[in-house]
């Protein structure tokens, strides 16, 4: 048999109270300072995780991607501007020449 809506609300309230009543005493964990510092020292020595290095890498990556996008947009835009006038004339001429008119067959 399934529970009714008001019963579910009561169980829900009990679960929320259970969660909120957890004592801070049980939240004691071992000191992580030594372990974290050991890892940071190792990575810093190899130069991979230094915050300034990470920031530098981020800046360079962003700049490279931005430059590549700008270059691609410029090339496409210039290509379109150059191609448009000549191409339209050429295409029109080509179309008149190649398209058969009624009665040509």
């Amino acid at each position: 048999m399934a529970h009714r809506d008001d019963e579910i609300q009561k169980v829900e309230r009990a679960l929320i109270e259970s969660y909120r009543s957890r004592s801070d005493l049980q939240f004691r964990a071992a000191d992580v300072t030594q372990g974290v510092m050991r890892e940071i020292r190792q990575k810093s020595e190899s130069g991979r995780w230094d915050p300034s290095v990470v920031l530098d890498q981020l800046v360079w990556r962003t700049a490279t991607i931005a430059a590549a996008v700008v270059l691609a947009v410029t090339v496409v835009t210039v290509g379109l501007i150059r191609a448009t006038p000549g191409e339209s004339e050429g295409l029109l001429a080509e179309e008149f020449e190649s398209a058969p008119l009624y009665g040509d067959y």
Partner: protein, 202 residues
């Protein structure tokens, strides 16, 4: 609202100076930062992951904090910033565990009995006693274990910790709309689980 993002007592100027020194390359000073904020981070993590995993996740939080220190803008408190990292680390922990497809424990007779006792309770005092029982924590853990990592993260923040949708979105780094939708769906999923948790159907 939960007090997880509230700043710890301490001298703000002292903390700014500490951050400046670490950023300038005084790596060893990061140990002071860990000592100051460790308890705050442990409290957040211990509510979200199994006891035997707390240390590992807290370790991960401080390593992430060190790596991302250059992105800390000081527009928010360091505690609030660390709370966000801790919550996202816990979310990642459950995502990894879900990928590993570890089995979720089932409800036992004891748990069903606890649910029946809660439903039968009339007085407030007895209700509070029931909520403090070990079975209550186990039923909650069982229910959270059935949810997706996303729903679990949102349900914990919004319904259990009591954060607003906006605050939860800020801590998780998700959009407000996403958190709002998930909060609703997660609550519905929890209610469905509890509805079907009567003896024999769980």
């Amino acid at each position: 609202m939960a007090d997880e993002s509230l700043p710890v007592r301490g001298n703000a100027a002292e903390e700014t100076d500490l951050l400046r020194r670490i950023r300038q390359g005084e790596t060893e000073r990061f140990a002071d930062l860990i000592s100051r904020h460790q308890h705050h981070v442990i409290r957040i993590v211990a509510r979200r992951v199994p006891a035997d995993q707390v240390e590992e996740v807290v370790h991960d939080v401080f390593v992430r904090a060190y790596v991302g220190l250059s992105q800390f803008s000081e527009s928010v408190s360091l505690d609030h910033w660390l709370a966000g990292i801790a919550i996202r680390a816990c979310y990642d922990f459950w995502r990894a565990r879900k990928r590993a497809e570890l089995p979720v424990s089932a409800l036992t007779d004891e748990h069903h009995r606890w649910i029946e006792q809660v439903l039968a309770t009339q007085s407030n005092d007895r209700f509070h006693d029931q909520a403090r029982k070990r079975e209550a924590a186990e039923v909650l853990e069982w229910a959270l274990g059935q949810l997706s990592p996303e729903n679990r993260a949102v349900l914990t923040l919004v319904h259990l910790d009591g954060y607003s949708v906006r605050e939860a979105a800020d801590l998780l780094g998700w959009s407000v709309v996403n958190v709002k939708v998930r909060a609703h769906r997660a609550r519905q999923a929890l209610r469905k689980l509890l509805t079907n948790s009567s003896r024999g159907s769980a």
